[in-house]
Protein backbone atom coordinates (compact mmCIF):
# COMPACT_ATOMS: atom_id res chain seq x y z
CA UNK A 1 0.00 0.00 0.00
CA UNK A 2 1.07 3.52 -0.74
CA UNK A 3 0.54 6.67 1.29
CA UNK A 4 -0.31 9.89 -0.50
CA UNK A 5 0.13 13.26 1.20
CA UNK A 6 -2.11 15.69 -0.68
CA UNK A 7 -3.86 19.05 -0.36
CA UNK A 8 -6.79 17.44 1.44
CA UNK A 9 -4.94 15.08 3.73
CA UNK A 10 -3.27 11.68 4.03
CA UNK A 11 -4.60 8.70 2.05
CA UNK A 12 -3.78 5.02 1.80
CA UNK A 13 -4.11 3.82 -1.81
CA UNK A 14 -3.14 0.86 -3.95
CA UNK A 15 -0.53 2.04 -6.44
CA UNK A 16 1.62 0.20 -8.96
CA UNK A 17 4.26 1.04 -11.56
CA UNK A 18 5.11 4.26 -9.79
CA UNK A 19 1.86 6.10 -9.16
CA UNK A 20 -0.80 4.31 -11.23
CA UNK A 21 -4.04 4.43 -9.26
CA UNK A 22 -7.64 3.49 -9.85
CA UNK A 23 -9.67 6.51 -10.91
CA UNK A 24 -11.59 6.16 -7.65
CA UNK A 25 -8.44 6.33 -5.50
CA UNK A 26 -7.14 9.23 -7.57
CA UNK A 27 -10.35 11.20 -7.04
CA UNK A 28 -10.59 10.35 -3.35
CA UNK A 29 -7.05 11.47 -2.62
CA UNK A 30 -6.56 14.42 -4.97
CA UNK A 31 -10.02 15.61 -6.02
CA UNK A 32 -9.14 15.08 -9.70
CA UNK A 33 -11.77 13.08 -11.60
CA UNK A 34 -11.08 10.94 -14.67
CA UNK A 35 -13.36 11.97 -17.54
CA UNK A 36 -13.20 11.52 -21.33
CA UNK A 37 -11.72 15.05 -21.54
CA UNK A 38 -8.92 14.09 -19.18
CA UNK A 39 -8.50 14.73 -15.46
CA UNK A 40 -10.89 17.37 -14.15
CA UNK A 41 -11.13 19.36 -10.94
CA UNK A 42 -13.62 22.15 -10.28
CA UNK A 43 -13.88 24.05 -13.59
CA UNK A 44 -10.58 22.82 -15.01
CA UNK A 45 -9.89 19.80 -17.22
CA UNK A 46 -6.36 18.72 -18.12
CA UNK A 47 -5.97 16.41 -21.11
CA UNK A 48 -3.64 13.51 -20.48
CA UNK A 49 -1.54 11.63 -23.02
CA UNK A 50 -2.99 8.25 -23.99
CA UNK A 51 -0.12 6.59 -22.15
CA UNK A 52 -1.29 8.09 -18.86
CA UNK A 53 -4.65 6.33 -18.63
CA UNK A 54 -5.53 2.68 -19.06
CA UNK A 55 -8.90 1.03 -18.40
CA UNK A 56 -10.13 3.09 -15.45
CA UNK A 57 -6.65 3.64 -14.07
CA UNK A 58 -4.59 6.81 -14.21
CA UNK A 59 -0.92 7.69 -13.87
CA UNK A 60 -0.98 10.38 -11.17
CA UNK A 61 2.70 11.11 -11.73
CA UNK A 62 1.89 12.04 -15.34
CA UNK A 63 -0.94 14.30 -14.16
CA UNK A 64 1.33 16.02 -11.65
CA UNK A 65 3.99 16.55 -14.30
CA UNK A 66 1.34 18.00 -16.65
CA UNK A 67 0.21 20.37 -13.87
CA UNK A 68 3.79 21.48 -13.28
CA UNK A 69 3.16 20.59 -9.66
CA UNK A 70 5.88 19.29 -7.35
CA UNK A 71 6.03 15.70 -6.24
CA UNK A 72 8.40 14.02 -3.80
CA UNK A 73 8.64 10.43 -2.64
CA UNK A 74 10.50 8.58 0.04
CA UNK A 75 13.34 6.22 -0.83
CA UNK A 76 11.14 3.13 -0.64
CA UNK A 77 8.49 4.66 -2.93
CA UNK A 78 5.81 4.03 -0.29
CA UNK A 79 5.08 7.64 0.62
CA UNK A 80 4.41 10.37 -1.93
CA UNK A 81 3.96 14.06 -1.23
CA UNK A 82 1.85 15.65 -3.98
CA UNK A 83 2.30 19.40 -3.71
CA UNK A 84 0.60 22.35 -5.37
CA UNK A 85 2.10 24.16 -8.36
CA UNK A 86 3.49 27.64 -7.74
CA UNK A 87 1.26 29.05 -10.47
CA UNK A 88 -1.81 27.61 -8.77
CA UNK A 89 -0.82 29.16 -5.44
CA UNK A 90 -0.11 32.55 -7.02
CA UNK A 91 -3.36 32.55 -8.99
CA UNK A 92 -5.34 31.71 -5.86
CA UNK A 93 -3.66 34.43 -3.80
CA UNK A 94 -4.01 36.94 -6.64
CA UNK A 95 -7.78 36.50 -6.48
CA UNK A 96 -7.46 37.71 -2.85
CA UNK A 97 -9.79 35.00 -1.58
CA UNK A 98 -8.36 33.62 1.66
CA UNK A 99 -7.41 29.99 0.90
CA UNK A 100 -9.58 27.64 2.94
CA UNK A 101 -8.35 24.91 5.26
CA UNK A 102 -9.49 22.71 8.13
CA UNK A 103 -7.27 21.90 11.11
CA UNK A 104 -7.80 20.24 14.49
CA UNK A 105 -7.79 21.88 17.88
CA UNK A 106 -6.22 20.29 20.96
CA UNK A 107 -9.32 18.15 21.50
CA UNK A 108 -9.02 16.77 17.97
CA UNK A 109 -12.06 18.67 16.71
CA UNK A 110 -11.77 19.94 13.16
CA UNK A 111 -12.38 23.63 12.45
CA UNK A 112 -12.76 25.06 8.93
CA UNK A 113 -11.68 28.64 8.21
CA UNK A 114 -14.55 29.33 5.80
CA UNK A 115 -17.09 28.61 8.55
CA UNK A 116 -16.08 32.02 9.94
CA UNK A 117 -17.53 33.83 6.91
CA UNK A 118 -19.39 36.90 8.19
CA UNK A 119 -16.66 37.71 10.73
CA UNK A 120 -13.35 39.46 10.41
CA UNK A 121 -10.59 36.92 11.00
CA UNK A 122 -7.10 37.53 12.35
CA UNK A 123 -5.19 34.45 11.19
CA UNK A 124 -1.83 34.22 12.94
CA UNK A 125 0.85 31.55 13.14
CA UNK A 126 3.09 30.74 16.07
CA UNK A 127 5.37 27.93 17.23
CA UNK A 128 7.00 26.64 20.40
CA UNK A 129 10.34 26.72 18.61
Amino acid sequence: MTILLTESGEYVVAARDGLWLSAADAERSTGWTLKPEGMCKDELCVPLPATATRGGEVDLAALWAKLGAPMARDDAGDVWSLGTAAETRNAALDGLEAPDFALNDLAGTSHRLSSLRGKKVFLATWASW
Binding site: I3, L5, E10, G68, A69, P70, M71, A72, R73, D74, D75, V79, W80, S81, L82, G83, T84, A85, A86, R89, N90, L93, D94, L96, E97, A98, P99, F101, L103, N104, D105, L106, G108, H111, L113, S114, L116, R117, G118, K119, K120, V121, F122, L123, A124, T125, W126, A127, S128, W129
Partner: protein, 215 residues
Protein backbone atom coordinates in the same frame (compact mmCIF):
# COMPACT_ATOMS: atom_id res chain seq x y z
CA UNK B 1 -0.67 35.49 22.74
CA UNK B 2 -3.81 37.14 21.39
CA UNK B 3 -6.29 36.64 24.22
CA UNK B 4 -6.20 40.29 25.33
CA UNK B 5 -6.93 41.40 21.78
CA UNK B 6 -9.72 38.90 21.38
CA UNK B 7 -11.34 39.63 24.75
CA UNK B 8 -11.77 43.29 23.78
CA UNK B 9 -13.20 42.54 20.34
CA UNK B 10 -15.06 39.24 20.53
CA UNK B 11 -18.51 40.83 20.42
CA UNK B 12 -17.58 42.64 17.20
CA UNK B 13 -17.99 39.82 14.66
CA UNK B 14 -14.34 38.91 15.02
CA UNK B 15 -12.31 35.75 15.53
CA UNK B 16 -8.66 35.07 16.14
CA UNK B 17 -7.41 31.87 14.52
CA UNK B 18 -4.06 31.00 16.06
CA UNK B 19 -2.29 28.24 14.14
CA UNK B 20 0.58 26.35 15.73
CA UNK B 21 3.10 25.41 13.01
CA UNK B 22 4.12 22.47 15.15
CA UNK B 23 5.37 19.33 13.43
CA UNK B 24 5.82 17.58 16.78
CA UNK B 25 2.03 17.69 17.09
CA UNK B 26 -0.65 18.89 19.53
CA UNK B 27 0.99 17.68 22.73
CA UNK B 28 3.97 19.89 22.02
CA UNK B 29 1.74 22.97 21.74
CA UNK B 30 -0.60 22.09 24.61
CA UNK B 31 1.17 23.78 27.52
CA UNK B 32 1.29 27.16 25.77
CA UNK B 33 -2.31 26.99 24.64
CA UNK B 34 -3.61 25.94 28.05
CA UNK B 35 -1.58 28.65 29.78
CA UNK B 36 -3.10 31.29 27.51
CA UNK B 37 -6.65 30.11 28.30
CA UNK B 38 -7.77 31.32 24.89
CA UNK B 39 -11.38 31.83 23.90
CA UNK B 40 -10.42 31.90 20.23
CA UNK B 41 -9.51 29.12 17.86
CA UNK B 42 -6.21 27.40 18.56
CA UNK B 43 -5.41 24.94 15.80
CA UNK B 44 -2.48 22.57 15.28
CA UNK B 45 -0.77 22.44 11.87
CA UNK B 46 1.93 19.73 11.89
CA UNK B 47 2.34 19.79 8.09
CA UNK B 48 2.70 23.61 8.00
CA UNK B 49 -0.25 23.74 5.64
CA UNK B 50 -1.16 27.33 6.46
CA UNK B 51 2.40 28.48 5.74
CA UNK B 52 2.13 26.69 2.38
CA UNK B 53 -1.28 28.16 1.49
CA UNK B 54 -0.43 31.74 2.50
CA UNK B 55 3.25 31.90 1.50
CA UNK B 56 4.40 32.34 5.08
CA UNK B 57 8.05 32.10 6.04
CA UNK B 58 8.29 32.87 9.76
CA UNK B 59 6.35 33.04 13.01
CA UNK B 60 4.52 35.07 14.06
CA UNK B 61 2.99 36.13 10.76
CA UNK B 62 -0.63 37.04 10.18
CA UNK B 63 -3.22 37.52 7.47
CA UNK B 64 -6.26 39.74 7.97
CA UNK B 65 -9.42 38.32 6.37
CA UNK B 66 -12.64 40.31 5.96
CA UNK B 67 -16.24 39.20 6.43
CA UNK B 68 -16.50 38.06 2.79
CA UNK B 69 -13.48 35.80 3.15
CA UNK B 70 -11.21 38.19 1.23
CA UNK B 71 -7.65 39.04 2.18
CA UNK B 72 -7.63 42.54 3.72
CA UNK B 73 -3.92 42.38 4.54
CA UNK B 74 -1.74 39.55 3.16
CA UNK B 75 0.97 37.68 5.05
CA UNK B 76 3.14 40.00 7.14
CA UNK B 77 5.00 40.11 10.46
CA UNK B 78 2.52 40.07 13.33
CA UNK B 79 3.94 42.58 15.81
CA UNK B 80 7.44 41.19 16.32
CA UNK B 81 10.62 43.18 15.67
CA UNK B 82 14.34 42.69 15.04
CA UNK B 83 15.40 44.07 18.44
CA UNK B 84 16.14 40.54 19.59
CA UNK B 85 19.13 40.53 17.21
CA UNK B 86 20.91 42.88 19.59
CA UNK B 87 20.38 40.52 22.51
CA UNK B 88 23.39 39.82 24.73
CA UNK B 89 23.85 36.12 24.02
CA UNK B 90 25.69 35.39 27.25
CA UNK B 91 23.05 36.89 29.53
CA UNK B 92 20.18 36.35 27.06
CA UNK B 93 18.90 39.84 27.81
CA UNK B 94 17.98 42.88 25.79
CA UNK B 95 18.70 46.48 26.80
CA UNK B 96 15.81 48.28 28.54
CA UNK B 97 15.56 50.61 25.54
CA UNK B 98 15.24 47.70 23.11
CA UNK B 99 12.74 45.94 25.37
CA UNK B 100 10.62 49.09 25.54
CA UNK B 101 10.82 49.61 21.79
CA UNK B 102 9.81 46.02 21.16
CA UNK B 103 6.86 46.25 23.55
CA UNK B 104 5.74 49.52 21.96
CA UNK B 105 5.91 48.06 18.46
CA UNK B 106 3.77 45.11 19.48
CA UNK B 107 1.22 47.42 21.13
CA UNK B 108 1.07 49.51 17.93
CA UNK B 109 0.39 46.40 15.88
CA UNK B 110 -2.38 45.19 18.22
CA UNK B 111 -3.92 48.69 18.15
CA UNK B 112 -3.91 48.53 14.36
CA UNK B 113 -5.77 45.20 14.45
CA UNK B 114 -8.32 46.76 16.83
CA UNK B 115 -8.74 49.76 14.51
CA UNK B 116 -9.38 47.42 11.63
CA UNK B 117 -11.99 45.41 13.49
CA UNK B 118 -13.75 48.51 14.79
CA UNK B 119 -13.59 50.71 11.69
CA UNK B 120 -12.01 48.85 8.78
CA UNK B 121 -8.87 51.00 8.99
CA UNK B 122 -5.64 49.53 7.53
CA UNK B 123 -7.51 47.17 5.19
CA UNK B 124 -5.78 47.29 1.81
CA UNK B 125 -7.54 47.85 -1.51
CA UNK B 126 -7.19 45.08 -4.09
CA UNK B 127 -4.22 46.64 -5.94
CA UNK B 128 -2.27 47.38 -2.77
CA UNK B 129 -3.01 43.91 -1.36
CA UNK B 130 -1.83 42.23 -4.57
CA UNK B 131 1.44 44.15 -4.47
CA UNK B 132 2.11 42.87 -0.95
CA UNK B 133 1.31 39.22 -1.73
CA UNK B 134 4.19 36.77 -1.41
CA UNK B 135 5.31 35.33 -4.77
CA UNK B 136 5.52 31.54 -4.80
CA UNK B 137 8.26 30.15 -7.06
CA UNK B 138 8.51 26.54 -8.32
CA UNK B 139 11.36 26.12 -5.84
CA UNK B 140 9.20 27.27 -2.94
CA UNK B 141 6.34 25.01 -4.08
CA UNK B 142 8.72 22.06 -4.21
CA UNK B 143 10.13 23.00 -0.81
CA UNK B 144 6.65 22.74 0.72
CA UNK B 145 6.12 19.29 -0.83
CA UNK B 146 9.50 18.14 0.51
CA UNK B 147 8.83 19.61 3.94
CA UNK B 148 5.55 17.71 4.14
CA UNK B 149 7.31 14.47 3.22
CA UNK B 150 10.15 15.12 5.65
CA UNK B 151 7.78 15.90 8.52
CA UNK B 152 5.83 12.71 7.82
CA UNK B 153 8.97 10.57 7.77
CA UNK B 154 10.23 12.20 10.98
CA UNK B 155 6.98 11.44 12.78
CA UNK B 156 7.05 7.84 11.53
CA UNK B 157 10.48 6.95 12.87
CA UNK B 158 12.55 7.75 9.78
CA UNK B 159 14.62 10.60 11.23
CA UNK B 160 17.60 10.56 8.87
CA UNK B 161 15.56 10.35 5.69
CA UNK B 162 13.07 12.91 6.97
CA UNK B 163 15.87 15.27 7.86
CA UNK B 164 17.39 14.87 4.40
CA UNK B 165 14.16 16.00 2.72
CA UNK B 166 13.78 18.88 5.14
CA UNK B 167 17.33 19.97 4.40
CA UNK B 168 16.55 19.96 0.70
CA UNK B 169 13.38 21.96 1.41
CA UNK B 170 15.44 24.55 3.25
CA UNK B 171 17.95 24.79 0.39
CA UNK B 172 15.09 25.41 -2.04
CA UNK B 173 13.39 27.94 0.24
CA UNK B 174 16.22 29.64 2.13
CA UNK B 175 14.01 32.59 3.13
CA UNK B 176 11.78 30.29 5.15
CA UNK B 177 12.64 30.37 8.83
CA UNK B 178 9.67 28.02 9.40
CA UNK B 179 11.31 25.25 7.38
CA UNK B 180 14.79 25.71 8.81
CA UNK B 181 13.76 26.16 12.46
CA UNK B 182 11.16 23.37 12.44
CA UNK B 183 13.74 20.99 10.97
CA UNK B 184 16.19 22.03 13.68
CA UNK B 185 13.57 21.58 16.42
CA UNK B 186 12.68 18.11 15.14
CA UNK B 187 16.33 17.21 15.41
CA UNK B 188 16.56 18.47 18.98
CA UNK B 189 14.26 20.69 21.03
CA UNK B 190 16.03 24.00 21.53
CA UNK B 191 18.20 23.69 18.45
CA UNK B 192 15.97 26.18 16.60
CA UNK B 193 17.31 28.90 18.95
CA UNK B 194 20.86 27.60 19.21
CA UNK B 195 24.21 28.64 17.75
CA UNK B 196 23.42 27.67 14.18
CA UNK B 197 20.25 29.78 14.38
CA UNK B 198 22.16 32.85 15.57
CA UNK B 199 24.75 32.36 12.86
CA UNK B 200 22.00 32.17 10.25
CA UNK B 201 20.41 35.34 11.64
CA UNK B 202 23.74 37.15 11.58
CA UNK B 203 24.19 36.07 7.97
CA UNK B 204 21.11 38.15 7.11
CA UNK B 205 23.27 41.24 7.48
CA UNK B 206 21.06 44.24 6.79
CA UNK B 207 18.10 42.14 5.68
CA UNK B 208 15.31 42.03 8.27
CA UNK B 209 14.40 38.86 10.13
CA UNK B 210 10.98 40.40 10.79
CA UNK B 211 10.17 42.86 7.97
CA UNK B 212 7.89 45.62 9.21
CA UNK B 213 4.25 45.48 8.08
CA UNK B 214 4.35 49.21 7.27
CA UNK B 215 0.93 50.00 8.68
Amino acid sequence: MWQELYAVLKDRNFMVVAVAEESRGPEHARQWIEAAKPEYWCLIDPAHRVADLYGMTNVPQAVWIDEQGHIARPTETAGSTDHFRRMDLTTRTMSPEDQAARTAARARYLDAVKDWVLSGKHALGAEAARRKLPRITPEIARAHALFRLGAWLRSHGKAAEGDRHMGEASRLHPDSWNVWRQAADLDEVGKASGQAFWARVQALGDKPYYPSPEL
